[in-house]
């Protein structure tokens, strides 16, 4: 999780991902930024991101949601 928070803070230095939640704070990651984020996660965590999850906002509401997805994909 720390590794993910580090990555998110690099990409979005102005956002506090310990508390950020898109449902209350408003959407942050739009489609073009999504590609950037996914590419970085794939490289740093050595996993493959299926494009099917990229359109589902519930996977990207918060750092915790992204982390849950990474754990699931690592297990597959």
């Amino acid at each position: 999780m720390d590794k993910l928070l580090e990555l998110l803070n690099e990409l979005y230095p102005d956002v506090d991902f310990a508390t950020y939640d898109a449902r209350t704070d408003g959407p942050l990651i739009q489609s073009l930024e999504m590609v950037e984020l996914i590419t970085e996660i794939e490289q740093r965590f050595d996993i493959e991101f299926p494009p099917s999850v990229m359109g589902d906002p519930e996977h990207f509401y918060s750092a915790a949601a992204i982390w849950a997805l990474i754990e699931r994909l690592e297990d597959e």
Binding site: Q30, S31, L32, M34, V35, E36, I38, T39, E40, E42, F49, P50, P51, S52, M54, G55, E76
Partner: protein, 499 residues
Amino acid sequence: MTFISPWFLGGLCVLFVLYYTLPKRAQWPLLLLASLGFYALAGWAALAAMLVTVAASYGIAMHMSKLKIAQKAHVAQHRDSMTRDERKAYNAAQKRRQRGWLIAGLLFNFSLLAAVKIGEALARIDIIPSMIFFVGISYYMFRICGYLIDVFWGKIEVQRNPLKLALFTIFFPYAMIGPISRYHNVADALLNEKRIDWALFGRGLQRMIWGFFKVMVVGFRLLLSINHLRATPGEYSGMFAFFTMLVWGAYLYADFSGAIDISIGIAMCFGIRVEENFISPFRARDIFDYWRRWHITMGTWFRDYVFYPLSVAKFMQKWPTRVKIHIATAVTWFTTGIWHGVAWNFIVWGLSNGVVIMISQELKPLYERFNKRFSFTKTKVYTCFAIVRTFLLLTLIRAFDIYFDVPLTFRHFASFITNPQFGAFFRYFGEHEVWFGLAPLEWLVAALGIAVMIAVPWFRKEEKRRPPAIFWAALVLVIFIFGMYGLGFDMQDFFYMQF
């Protein structure tokens, strides 16, 4: 037959009564029968093509699902004896098999779509005789192909009843004009048994009235002027061309979003919520924002099924992220252009959007620094400036679809500078009694209609701020008095029905 036809509206009333009085298990079959009937009126060949598409897609989805079930069972059975790498290799091999079937299904469907689109293009330049009008083919193709991809991705359970799949594909309110619904968003609502929800039924009727107002009072009126302006496009350059582009934007919004309002309203009356397709698009602050507000279901379809898969595809991995984004953006917008028709104007329109998006993306860091440095960028005045700037930019991009003539559109753009004709434009109104095919009084009605359209954008979150019953009664009266149908004009097809 369009939504404006009295036969359609009469049939709809009968259908509402049957839907809520027949046994509830007959509800979805009734909607399917009505949808097939509605589609058959567009032509038997069109109906046959649609049924072939549904049958092929059904077969392929069922087969992919069988492979998936076998794959899961195999992994579960050998969980302990397989290493992680072995499991990964097995899953990858199975995925390839399923992908083969998916590609076959998509190729089959898109070949049919391509044949129709190319046929239309050849008929336009008189190489072949005018062909059968496959009304709404793009819309159902995109719905069914989205369904196939979702089954492949494992996002949804396969639909085992082909008739239920057919209903999802051509549910008549959205069959011909959209929204491009996704299976997981609407399937339950389409197939569930429902009691009448009077509140929802009432909101559905209001939504339909709102749509009829936009289409009949504003859209059809502006269409008369548009037809006049593009009949002799060479005459109207400079300010005249700019005026045409503004009228075109207002017409397209009234016509398309109005038809979508009617679609959504009819579905609500059947107790079915379908996706929104417009959220105040002319309030967008930049082009990204605009495409999150205009024809939303088309934008999200291309984003989820073209842009995302392409941008993370294996063969793209060797490129830097920015290059990947630009390639995926260009391909997505080229495809979006072609989706509208095999014609240069649509391709240039699509690529123009792509180019502006790519440039905006490159300038983003600059904008962010600018916005941080200057506090006036947080004022309402600056927001208004951003809205007007975006509106003008999209007005120019949209202009490619007015004349179906790319060089002419570029000549008109150049004429804004080389021959703006300010004086001639303003003199025109004094020298003529009919302005661009419409009497001044008709322009006044259209302008007031546009003002109402802008002033009443409540269909977002403002459920509590809905206008009172008197507003709806007044709007019905306005439609009867000022609706083009009421004045005896020919019924027009919706512009967006041709796709």
